[in-house]
């Protein structure tokens, strides 16, 4: 009896899978089946080719057109691509938006996931919250952007953007990053919930049994255990934030430079002002945008792609390390 409490749970039985060795080849199949398999190979290789083409093409264009000076000089007015400066403001803008957006989305998302998994009462509210999160995931970002224009032009929130004689401009880093955070929220919630749900009940019960409160258990046991999934969710959310364009076009102001608000203390003057991001710069610099500087659009897109690739690699790393730690046995 006493042993059933203290002995560690038995190791998980080896996964029973269809043996991958010594399976039948496709030689005996009928022609249609073999054509189907060939189509599978074709599509798989096509996907790899598309991904390789995107990376290699942007790499070539990036090496051709990206100058380091473009990352340090802001955009300027000019007739040719040589005169019109770089996109440092866009680059810094993307970093600011990423940091601000994720620092809002991560705590809120984790808190919601903790409430959903660990508390979740009354049941009706939990169901409504789940549906809310799913609905937020389905809201097009352009709709979030329009919603942002309404709430951030209200006088009560005038302190978050530039206001002029009672008319609130409503476009600022605060406005854009809070809507971006809302966009990233479902990803954080989903990933954190997955992590929390994967922790078996007996872990919680062990903690309660030594007299820990639910809050202490969550803080000390559950969140540290779910850290890889929380990190994954955060990085997915960050990817969504730096990749979004619609919200930035609408809520960050149609400018290619920072326009700090005069009279505000240092970080706030920039954050309350309008700005730009790499996605916005690429959009405006593409042939369909207002600037039409394809070379610089390629350079900025290359920088953006590098950020996405780095983020992907980091997510992979976290994922792999989480798997190395091992899963709980139930």
């Amino acid at each position: 009896m006493e042993s059933s409490v203290v002995t560690p749970p038995p190791p998980a039985p080896p996964e029973s899978k269809v043996p991958t060795k010594a399976v039948e080849g496709s030689a005996t199949w009928s022609l249609v089946d073999r054509l189907g398999l060939a189509f599978c190979w074709f599509l798989g290789l096509l996907f790899c080719a598309i991904a390789a083409a995107i990376v290699i093409y942007l790499l070539i264009q990036g090496i051709k057109f990206l100058k380091l000076s473009e990352l340090t000089t802001p955009a300027a007015a000019g007739f040719t691509e040589g005169e019109s400066g770089g996109f440092s403001d866009a680059f810094v803008g993307t970093l600011i938006l990423g940091v601000m957006g994720i620092s809002m989305a991560l705590p809120i998302g984790v808190a919601i996931a903790v409430w959903l998994v660990e508390y979740g009462r009354p049941r009706a509210l939990a169901r409504i919250t789940e549906m809310t999160i799913e609905a937020i995931a389905g809201i097009p970002s352009i709709v979030l952007a329009l919603f942002g224009t309404v709430i951030f032009t209200s006088t009560a929130l005038g302190f978050l953007s530039r206001s002029n004689e009672g008319v609130v401009f409503g476009r600022s880093f605060f406005a854009a990053s809070s809507m971006l955070a809302l966009e990233a929220l479902p990803l954080v919630v989903a990933s954190t919930r997955e992590g929390l749900n994967a922790i078996p009940r007996h872990v919680r019960e062990a903690s309660y049994a030594v007299g820990k409160t639910k809050a202490a258990t969550t803080r000390r046991i559950l969140l540290p255990t779910a850290r890889p999934q929380i990190a994954t969710g955060g990085m997915l959310g960050l990817g969504r934030i730096i990749g979004d364009t619609a919200i930035i076009v609408v809520l960050l102001g149609a400018t290619q430079n920072f326009s700090p608000v005069e009279g505000a203390p240092f970080p706030l003057d920039y954050l309350r002002g309008a700005g730009t991001s790499l996605t916005n710069f690429v959009y405006e610099a593409s042939p369909t945008g207002n600037l039409n500087q394809p070379q610089k659009a390629y350079a900025a897109a290359f920088v953006l792609l590098l950020m996405v690739l780095a983020l992907n690699a980091a997510t992979d790393l976290v994922h792999r390390r989480a798997r190395k730690v091992g899963t709980w046995s139930h």
């Binding site: 029973s16 899978k17 269809v18 399976v23 039948e24 496709s26 199949w29 089946d33 189907g36 398999l37 599978c40 599509l43 798989g44 996907f47 991904a51 995107i54 809120i108 808190a111 919601i112 409430w115 959903l116 508390y119 809310t132 999160i133 799913e134 389905g138 809201i139 097009p140 352009i142 709709v143 952007a145 329009l146 919603f147 309404v150 709430i151 809302l182 007299g211 409160t213 639910k214 809050a215 202490a216 969550t218 730096i242 990749g243 979004d244 364009t245 619609a246 076009v249 609408v250 149609a254 996605t279 690429v282 593409s286 369909t288 394809p294 897109a301 953006l304 792609l305 996405v308 992907n312």
Partner: protein, 330 residues
């Protein structure tokens, strides 16, 4: 040892208190979604009220209507709201429908390939590729579409004869339905693949082994047993991809052609080369007219339409998926 036993979290972090704090946050998020719905619907209501059901119907040139609406704020002769969105809705249906159908086929074959047939090296390559394609920002897809795919279609696929045949109505430059569908397919197929592979690999091995034991070959087993068992997840993934496709604005604003023209399949195959503009890009393109009250109402009316279709599809997808989880558990 003594310290460990001290209650680290006193009354300040009591369970009731934490639960109440998290609950407040959850209620705030639910309230935010409700506020979003209310704000968007109220702001869009004048447009629906003036047009009634003909808002969804055909009639007139949408671009002319939009400019008349935004200019009517300055004439002083009263606001004009007349707006018949059918060409935009039709374009949305064609582009999103086309991309989802293409994406469904592609994603099904790729997921079957990944779960059953791909050798280890291939799946180790294909999985990151799929994740990468899902994480490329839409503006990069848009840029590559504008600078690579659109000129290719315009210069090589569309014949001079075809251009001449519709010269009086619309000019075929490569900004076309087919370009939009292809790029949108590449964007949404990875989303489907990740949901489909999850579902296919969670099909009970016994079911597949049963079929194999009866002498059915692996190809037919996975299609007849695996894919059928995963049907709810396939529906869910498709619906979620549809929600994503409907909300896609920036990429489509760049390459769909940005003309409010309704391509007519009855004209023959040429319709796939014709430009159009779905609903979401219309908001992006006209967002600088938000200061004109009737234009604002029209844009919010479009946003209402997108909000309800996007959120509904997302919810439907999530519910189907949950049913699948319940059914696949144990």
């Amino acid at each position: 040892m003594e310290e460990e036993l001290q209650p680290e979290y006193g009354p300040k972090w009591s369970d009731q208190r934490v639960e109440r704090m998290l609950g407040t946050l959850v209620v705030f998020i639910v309230g935010l979604l409700l506020a979003l719905i209310v704000v968007v619907v109220i702001n869009g209501w004048p447009s629906f009220a003036h047009n009634g059901l003909s808002w969804f119907g055909p009639g007139g040139n949408v671009d002319d209507q939009l400019s008349a609406i935004s200019q009517s704020a300055e004439t002083g002769a009263g606001y004009i709201y007349t707006f018949h969105a059918w060409p935009l809705i039709w374009s949305t249906i064609l582009i999103c429908g086309g991309a989802v159908v293409l994406g469904l086929v592609t994603a099904l074959f790729i997921s079957v390939f990944l779960t059953e047939f791909a050798p280890a090296w291939m799946s180790n390559l294909l999985r990151p590729v799929v994740r990468f394609l899902a994480s490329v920002p839409s503006v990069i897809y848009g840029l590559l579409g504008v600078l690579v795919l659109v000129p290719f279609i315009g210069n090589h696929l569309i014949t001079e004869h075809q251009k001449a045949s519709v010269a009086g109505i619309i000019s075929l430059t490569g900004y076309s339905l087919i370009a939009a569908v292809i790029v949108l397919t590449i964007m949404i197929a990875p989303l489907m693949v990740s949901i489909f592979t999850d579902a296919l690999s969670s099909v009970k091995p016994g079911w597949l082994e049963g079929s194999l034991a009866l002498g059915v070959n692996r190809w037919r087993t996975i299609w007849k047993i695996g894919v059928r068992a995963a049907r709810p997840a396939i529906v869910a993934g498709t619906v979620l991809a549809l929600a994503r496709a409907i909300g896609e604005s920036v990429m489509l604003a760049m390459i769909s052609g940005s003309t409010a023209f309704a391509p007519n399949p009855a004209d023959g195959l040429i319709f796939i080369y014709e430009p159009s503009r779905p609903l979401a890009p219309t908001i992006v393109k006209s967002v600088d007219q938000l200061s004109s009250p009737p234009a604002k109402a029209t844009l919010f009316a479009i946003a209402t339409f997108l909000l309800f279709s996007g959120a509904m599809f997302s919810l439907a997808g999530a519910l189907t998926r949950r049913a699948m989880n319940k059914y696949g558990a144990a």
